[in-house]
């Protein structure tokens, strides 16, 4: 390379231009070469294992402790046959849905202040929203355990404020899992919403105000609709992450709020029923992918309409 560069300074530079330009014709070998290590790595350690797992769930099932090969839908039929698995599946979807919904009203004030507040408030909220991400999830779940336990912080607080004499214990219920999941995944909703609100032209809000809208109308009819793309991304993330969480429900729900992840763990590591475990994991994967596709498609289309209208103005 350097010897070529020494022959003529200008000619190779022009040739490189062709390569670095996005439409370069000579770019094939070098670009593909740069991408190849990462692509091959992901193919070997991600695509093939996932494909094999999905295949495994369809080509084997356990019969009295022995894996029987052969094309089968037995693993999936079992999921629908047994009441236990059905209960766990619906509980997983319910907890993920409630968590996502609860996060929305919590995220909006924080995101709004982060995007629109003074430097002081913006920095303060940003710090409190982001700092939990640096703390281990296990540690955060343990923190909630100390808060929600029978002799925990919350019951102490409620008793001393005189709100409740014998407050109900939330630990080891679905609500404990929901509260902790909302806390763990809240930043994934606040950040996209804040970024979406930050992108709204201040002039649009001013225009609405000038035309006589009070702050409530501005918020509901300007800020919220224009921040929907951020909301869609955030809610999808919170839902997927909650549905696939394992350790938070394990610490806060115990055996009373087992979710799909717990079921996969039991089938694979305790019962050793790998084909059924693979089927459960595949179901979890499909749920996540469908939610992602549907949500993003839905909002992309709606947002395209809004954006189009915005440009026409």
């Amino acid at each position: 390379m350097s010897s070529v560069a020494q022959q003529s300074a200008v000619a190779p530079a022009r040739a490189q231009r062709a390569e670095t330009a996005p439409h370069g014709r000579y770019a094939l070998p070098k670009g593909a070469l740069l991408v190849a290590p990462a692509a091959i790595f992901l193919l070997a350690c991600f695509v093939v294992p996932i494909a094999q797992m999905v295949g495994y769930s369809l080509t084997a099932h356990m019969d009295q402790g022995i894996a029987v090969p052969g094309l089968t839908t037995e693993n999936y039929a079992r999921l629908f046959r047994s009441n236990l698995y059905w209960v766990v599946l619906t509980r997983t979807l319910r907890i993920a849905a409630i968590t996502s919904v609860i996060c929305i009203p919590i995220a909006y004030p924080l995101a709004y202040v982060m995007a629109r507040g003074s430097a002081f408030w913006s920095r303060l909220v940003m710090f409190t929203v982001i700092s939990p991400l640096l703390v281990l999830v296990v540690v955060r779940a343990y923190g909630w355990k100390l808060i929600l336990a029978k002799q925990g912080f919350l019951s102490w607080l409620l008793q001393n404020l005189g709100i409740a004499q014998a407050p109900p214990t939330l630990l080891y219920t679905e609500w404990a899992v929901i509260i902790a999941s909302a806390h763990v995944f809240l930043p994934f909703l606040v950040l996209p919403v804040a970024s979406a609100i930050g992108k709204i032209d201040l002039g649009v809000e001013d225009a609405a105000r000038t035309l006589g809208a009070d702050w409530r109308a501005v918020f509901w009819r300007v800020t919220v609709p224009l921040s929907l793309p951020g909301l869609a991304v955030g809610v999808t993330l919170v839902f997927s992450l909650t549905a696939a969480s394992y350790v938070t429900p394990q610490i806060l729900g115990g055996n009373f709020a087992a979710m799909l992840g717990t079921l996969v763990q039991q089938q694979v590591l305790s019962v050793n029923d790998w084909p059924f475990g693979a089927a459960l994991a595949t179901v979890l994967l499909i749920v996540t992918l469908v939610v992602n596709l549907v949500m993003l498609r839905l909002f992309e289309r709606r947002f395209a309409r809004w954006a189009g209208r915005g440009e026409a103005r």
Binding site: A9, T128, L134, V139
Partner: protein, 268 residues
């Protein structure tokens, strides 16, 4: 942030303060509990002692798993950079057939649940007859860290002013020299942001390690979960407090030494 920003109404400020307190509470309560001089965890803490910290810091399991997770996270970060930076350059600077497909491939581990990727890797490794837990953890964590680094580095590459690269070339700099002297300084922030994210993701991971770790390669989050299930005294609270302090130190290092905004790291 914005000079012409409207003033925050009092109610909104109050609301944000309360929410912030609730967000920080689960990280503060363990600190209060950890100094309690009682055999069982309860609130409010009784007495004052630092013995739980002494006990935890002397704990062999805590020491070994902390060091193991730290080393693993460093190696994962290095491998992620080695694979991710060239990949980001290839994706943003060159056009070749299948480019968008590869871009989708690189980003897809973000969408796939880590728990599912982990169990798939376990079954794959077992079919290959591999029982090298360390290698599996390294590969598994790199799979989940790679997309974030490629995203931050690609984002930084797109912000590089192309004419600076062209100028260097015209002045006779080779391709590598141009990258080292012109491009690299401009994408340094993106690479560092990706590194911090990769380190934290690997260090914090539970859903992948629960499948791939074995007794000799046990990670810190798994060990802390074992502590939580096993003991009811404030020693676990002391571990939590230590981990919060560790995170704060990490935050300070990132903000001060590297001059990075945390928002950039998370938002990508």
């Amino acid at each position: 942030m914005n000079p012409e920003a409207p003033r925050i109404p009092f109610a909104l400020a109050l609301c944000c303060t309360l929410l912030s307190a609730a967000i920080l509470a689960p990280m503060m309560i363990p600190i209060a509990v950890s100094i309690s001089d009682s055999m069982f965890v309860s609130f409010p803490p009784r007495g004052f002692t630092l013995k739980w910290y002494g006990q935890v810091l002397a704990d062999r399991e805590f020491q070994t798993t902390f060091l193991f997770s730290f080393k693993l996270a460093l190696l994962v970060t290095a491998l992620t950079v080695l694979l991710g930076v060239p990949c980001a350059i290839g994706l943003t600077r060159f056009r070749f057939p299948g480019r968008s497909l590869i871009f989708a491939l690189i980003l897809s581990p973000i969408v796939f649940p880590v728990l599912v990727t982990g169990v798939a890797l376990l079954q794959f490794a077992s079919r290959l007859g591999s029982n090298d837990s360390f290698l599996q953890l390294l590969a598994g964590h790199t799979v989940i860290c790679l997309p974030y680094l490629v995203r931050t580095v690609s984002g930084a590459l797109l912000l590089v002013v192309p004419s600076t690269e062209d100028a260097a070339r015209t002045l006779g700099a080779g391709q590598f020299t141009t990258f080292r002297r012109i491009t690299l300084p401009q994408i340094r922030g993106g690479i560092l942001a990706g590194c911090v994210f990769a380190f934290i993701t690997s260090f914090d991971d539970y859903a992948m390690a629960m499948w791939l770790a074995d007794a000799r390669h046990f990670t810190l989050p798994l060990q802390i979960h074992v502590f939580i299930e096993r003991s009811f005294d404030p020693s676990v609270a002391a571990i939590s407090a230590l981990m919060v302090a560790f995170s704060l130190a990490l935050l300070l290092v990132v903000e001060r030494a590297l001059g990075l905004k945390m928002q950039r790291i998370v938002a990508g």
